[in-house]
Amino acid sequence: MYSDDRAVSVTVGYVLNFAIASILVSGLLIAGGGLIERQTEQVTEDELSVIGHQLADDISSADRLVRAGDVSTLSIRSDLPERTAAGGYTVNITVDGNDGEIVLRTNAPEVVVTVPFRVQSSLSGGTLEGGPVRIEYDGGLEVVSA
């Protein structure tokens, strides 16, 4: 019998090359995607933490100014970014006596950062969309969108 299996090695080699390249590329893409996802989460957490501390710092500054004298007008602008690596975010301020918390949250990926602060003056809590805010004084402190 005559068997016609000549030149098969070219096809086999091509298929093997193709398979190995596919596996390699898929592995790279999967690993890269995972890396991006983790880094996005990490960077967003860092950003929210810095934003929270910036806002807490400005609230403390406003508190110091209110306590430094008989304040009639006070407005401090806090230039918070409108977006993080994970997109828009919300800022929720809660106050219990002299202790307060700023909770910053993004949806996708869901990252939640809580920044505690202390305040001696009266401060109204509330929820805001991320972005520049103003800390106003009118008998008590209030954080409003700029």
């Binding site: 110091r64 100014l65 009639s72």
Partner: protein
């Protein structure tokens, strides 16, 4: 044989996807670096304002003391007051110019001033005895010349009923609050008793400064038992003729309205300037 024009598409697509991944990674790294940069920026927005407020308060306090000290016995309150007002305008202009360089607009306005009396005796061999109505007292400092103190006989400082006996015994100067604190120091040369600061010769002497109010009095009894110098400013409109001869009409305090506007901040407040007042 068919033409193979679509060869290499896997590599091409994979390359594009990897490029997108790298760009996304670069953007994330950039965001992280920017976040760290923002985190290390100075963010104390109250610092500049409080520095301005403290500067203005110190300057006006110094101005009030200087104008009070420069007044003569024949000056009316309005004379001293207008000198203080003129000085405050100059302070306002100086701070305004300085702050404009930092993109801040400032303004100082006098709301009102309070009349007072600057009571002092300088290099006296013995003090006069006196009593004055005073609804507040500030910067009461006595420099006792221990060589001119009568041993065993106390000078009495009466702070609205809180009597401080200042006595020289056994080579020491003793400050004794009736039934309370006693402080001592060596009777050597000049001894400073900062009455409002509650310090004797630099050391703490907490006798408990009383609360002054309308109808309160301050005075010195048995003045002949001690000499040296002293000075105090009281919130009062008593006739200086009844007080020690160097007494002059003075500005006790000033209520000042301060304003500061910067691109990120608006601040307006009213402060009372009464240098050396215990509760200020």
């Amino acid at each position: 044989m068919a033409e193979m024009n679509d060869r290499g598409q896997l590599i091409l697509v994979a390359g594009i996807l990897l490029a997108v991944l790298f760009i996304a990674l670069a953007l994330l790294v950039n965001a992280a670096i920017y976040t760290d940069n923002v985190a290390t920026r100075g963010g104390d927005s109250a610092g500049e304002v409080l520095e301005y407020q403290a500067g203005v308060t110190d300057s006006i306090g110094g101005l009030i003391d200087a104008e009070n000290a420069a007044a003569s016995g024949g000056d009316n309150f309005s004379d001293v007051n207008s000198s203080v007002a003129g000085g405050i305008s100059e302070i306002d202009a100086a701070f305004g110019r300085n702050n404009l360089r930092r993109s801040a607009s400032t303004d100082i306005t006098i709301v009102n001033t309070t009349e007072g009396r600057l009571i002092r005796e300088r290099n006296a061999n013995d003090f006069e005895s006196w009593e004055a109505n005073a609804s507040d007292v500030r910067r009461f400092v006595i420099d006792l010349d221990t060589d001119n103190m009568t041993t065993g006989s106390p000078l009495v400082v009466d702070l609205d009923g809180t009597e401080l006996k200042i006595n020289k015994t056994g080579g020491e100067v003793k400050v004794n609050e009736t039934g309370g604190t006693e402080c001592t120091t060596n009777a050597d040369g000049t001894v400073r008793f900062d009455v409002t600061g509650e310090r004797l010769d630099g050391a703490t002497c907490q006798f408990g400064w009383p609360d002054f109010d309308t109808g309160s009095t301050v005075g010195i009894e048995n003045g002949t038992y001690a000499g040296g110098s002293y000075e105090l400013t009281i919130k009062s409109d008593d006739d200086p003729a009844w007080l020690p001869s160097e007494t002059t009409r003075a500005v006790y305090s000033a209520n000042i309205k301060l304003r500061m506007d910067t691109p990120d901040l608006r601040y307006e407040t009213t402060v009372t300037v009464a240098p050396g007042e215990p509760d200020v």
